[in-house]
């Protein structure tokens, strides 16, 4: 699926967050949205699923104009978009099985899962490299990294065609970060979904993204391949790159 923003503007009170944002993703690509805190990265994601409406401009998923849909019509669009939150946000009182199954239907405690649902739950866990031995465990019994994977499996359960990641590696140590990055690469390759990753982690962007879009003051500062971003001379991008480059030299 492809996504297209056309001249999208959004202000909150006096503050303009998106100032005529236009860009397009390619089907199956991993696009990183990078920028400083408060620059409108998450606001951009929320526009895609209609959680925030633009003041002006249009947003398309394939040929469908999302901005023209009412709340009811947005339902099917939201089901196509899997949102992966920064924190796992699992239900602690439910088993891993029920947490992943929650992505299929919300009345998980009303009746047992059917054989087809159970198969789907196990398949989604497998996609995030978790085995069936944890199906009956509860989130507090799992490491934080495993919780993040269970949360991702829940997002994958309904079969989204677009994955939206909101700061998936923020607050993680370098090893856990690499594990999440590898998952994003795997999912993109195996499921051929289009992924948008909101982040301020330049190192991850350079190693995972097909293209990187850098936002600044509500506009696109740069949009290009990791190699093109690496070569950019824009001061903000050099600032974001400086520690990554310093570490590469040290290593």
């Amino acid at each position: 699926m492809s996504l297209r923003f056309v001249e999208v503007r959004k202000s909150f009170g006096e503050r303009t967050v998106l100032d005529g944002l236009s860009f397009e993703t390619r089907a199956g690509e991993i696009l990183f949205l990078l920028g400083r805190s408060g620059v409108g990265k998450s606001v951009t994601l929320k526009h895609l699923v209609g959680l925030i409406r633009p003041d002006s401009g249009k947003i398309y998923i394939d040929q469908l104009e999302v901005t023209a849909l009412n709340e009811e019509e947005l339902g099917p669009v939201r089901r196509k978009c899997g949102m992966v939150f920064q924190h796992p946000a699992l239900l602690d009182s439910l088993s891993v099985r029920a947490n992943v199954g929650f992505g299929l239907r919300q009345d998980v405690q009303a009746r047992p899962f059917t054989a087809a649902e159970e198969t789907r739950i196990r398949h989604c866990l497998d996609l995030v490299h978790l085995g069936p031995e944890i199906l009956d465990r509860k989130p507090p019994e799992l490491s934080y990294g495993m919780q993040k994977r269970v949360s991702l499996a829940r997002t994958l359960a309904p079969g989204p065609e677009i994955l939206l990641f909101d700061e998936p590696t923020t607050g993680l140590d370098p090893i856990a970060t690499e594990a999440v990055n590898e998952l994003i690469r795997d999912l993109s390759r195996n499921l051929q979904v289009t992924s948008i990753v909101v982040s301020h982690d330049m190192k991850s962007a350079l190693s995972v993204a097909d293209r990187i879009l850098v936002l600044d003051a509500g506009r696109i500062l740069a949009l290009g391949s990791p190699a093109e971003i690496r070569a950019s001379q824009a001061p903000l991008i050099r600032d974001f790159l400086s520690e990554v480059l310093a570490q590469e030299v040290r290593s």
């Binding site: 400083r36 805190s37 490491s143 993680l172 370098p174 090893i175 330049m202 974001f240 520690e243 570490q247």
Partner: protein
Amino acid sequence: MIRVNSLGHRFSPDSPWIYQGIDFQLKQGECLAILGPSGSGKTVLLKSLAGLILPAEGSVKIETQDLGMLFQKNALFDSMTALENLLFPLREKKSFSIAEAKERSLEMLKSVGLEASAHLFPDELSGGMQKRLGLARAWMMEPEVLFYDEPTAGLDPVTSRSIAALMRQRARDLGTTSIVVTNEVARALQLGDSVALLAAGRLTSPLSPDAFSQSQDESIRQFIEGRLVGPLTRTRENGALE
């Protein structure tokens, strides 16, 4: 200023040790940065050092009782504005007049770039602003020793670097001794006079930032490079707290 001997902790006599055999000394005005994977026990260690958790074995000696702490989640008062959050410790602990306390608090807000947000409540501030307010509150009392738990987690790299620069500047101006736990390698190298890695229940010997980043220790290398395969990953899968 701080002397730590054979420090170890576990939550009960039947539970596994989180860490053991930790020894180090810190002189007045120095900063030790402790890196480590999630769940390696960094926060437990910091709380043990600050006296918030009684260690299961070993000792921590600090030459002062004038301690301050920045908590990972800031622990701001939700029902107070940014300004009131700073006024609170001053009015509780020190005998300033209201006018004087207010002046000092506004000055502090300015130094962390929050002067325009004095009247806002914590939930009206972004994550980065809340972090800066947490720092400002920790700094208000000008403690001799400061413990920082993940002071820059979740901030973009530019903000993160500028906050760390502010931390260093203040420590230098006031001669504050500090211990910082973080999982950001670049920040530890920027902040610490010495840097150590807490992993697999042990703290490596503190090294200068240069020596740390060039260390050939396998765990340190794996952590710095963020490799999935190595000694730390095995330990984590073997049931270390995460």
